[in-house]
Symmetry: C2
């Protein structure tokens, strides 16, 4: 249901790709490509309530929490993508929201660091630090994913073996 690979902008001042040509033929809500909570919910296949709940749980970083004038929440395409990833991890890894928070809290920190990165060029040493942290974070997620993959592969093997046996008995009574 979510075919879009859409990798996170892992660094550099990319940011571009303003998805202004989004669905409905309406004026840009946030003067830029920002979307309102209802549209975001439809896009990622959830409800506004859930998004607010995730914010309450601290799963959406500072940026997504910040509120523009008027009090209505607005989300950049990056934030929408971030939400998608959260949901994907939730569904595929089957972790609780709290575990999910721990799992990605480094990611939130990374977003902050990225800002620092963009604004004032950090020194060589600082850059290394930031990149290493991102690396450790990715390794953490990868370990979880690979663990799951291993278990699922084992299960697949067992099921396949059973299937093979049933088929054998179908051929030779």
């Amino acid at each position: 249901m979510t075919p879009a690979p859409a990798t996170r902008p892992s660094a550099s001042a990319s940011a571009s790709a303003s998805a202004s040509a989004s669905a409905s033929a309406s004026a840009p809500p946030g003067a830029r490509g920002e979307l309102r909570i209802g549209d975001v919910a439809r896009l990622v296949g959830t409800t506004p309530r859930t998004i607010r709940y995730y914010e309450e749980m601290g799963l959406l970083g500072e940026a997504a929490t910040a509120r523009p004038a008027g009090g209505h929440r607005l989300y950049t395409p990056d934030e929408v993508q971030w939400l998608r990833e959260l949901i994907r991890l939730r569904d595929l890894l089957g972790v609780s929201l709290e575990q999910l928070g721990e799992l990605v809290e480094a990611e939130a920190a990374r977003a902050l660091l990225r800002e620092e990165w963009d604004r004032r060029q950090p020194g060589r040493e600082r850059r290394r630090e930031i990149l290493l942290e991102a690396l450790g974070h990715l390794d953490g997620q990868l370990e979880l994913v690979r663990d799951r993959l291993g278990q699922l592969r084992t299960l697949e093997d067992e099921l396949t073996e059973r299937r093979r046996r049933v088929k054998a008995r179908l051929r030779s009574p």
Copy 2:
């Protein structure tokens, strides 16, 4: 919509094996290899309450539901194994107990058929029927498992790619 992850705190206590170790200083409870609910719970890493709940939900077949004299539940090794599989599917696929029930309800039917198989030799035609049903059932499970596998592989690829980029930037600033 949400598959609702298991509320269990620690992932898997497993601690399988030691099937005979528990029988070290105790007489066989069910005159055969049958175990009582507490032992079963320890073996599969859950609680008696959960096992009773699964029975209540109809996840344990007729056999496991049948009660010997005294009213205490007794489980054969096969039934213990069945419970293990249920828990594994629950954890790995992250499905609700209701979905789990649908997913394996054919399995329950299969258990009944197997009994029939053992007791009176079914005719060639009937055997075919039974085997074909088992096959369809296995295919159903396999499809779900493989679907999950595909999604997880995609996720792994994406994470690996990000990792690669971070490492590249670590080498060449």
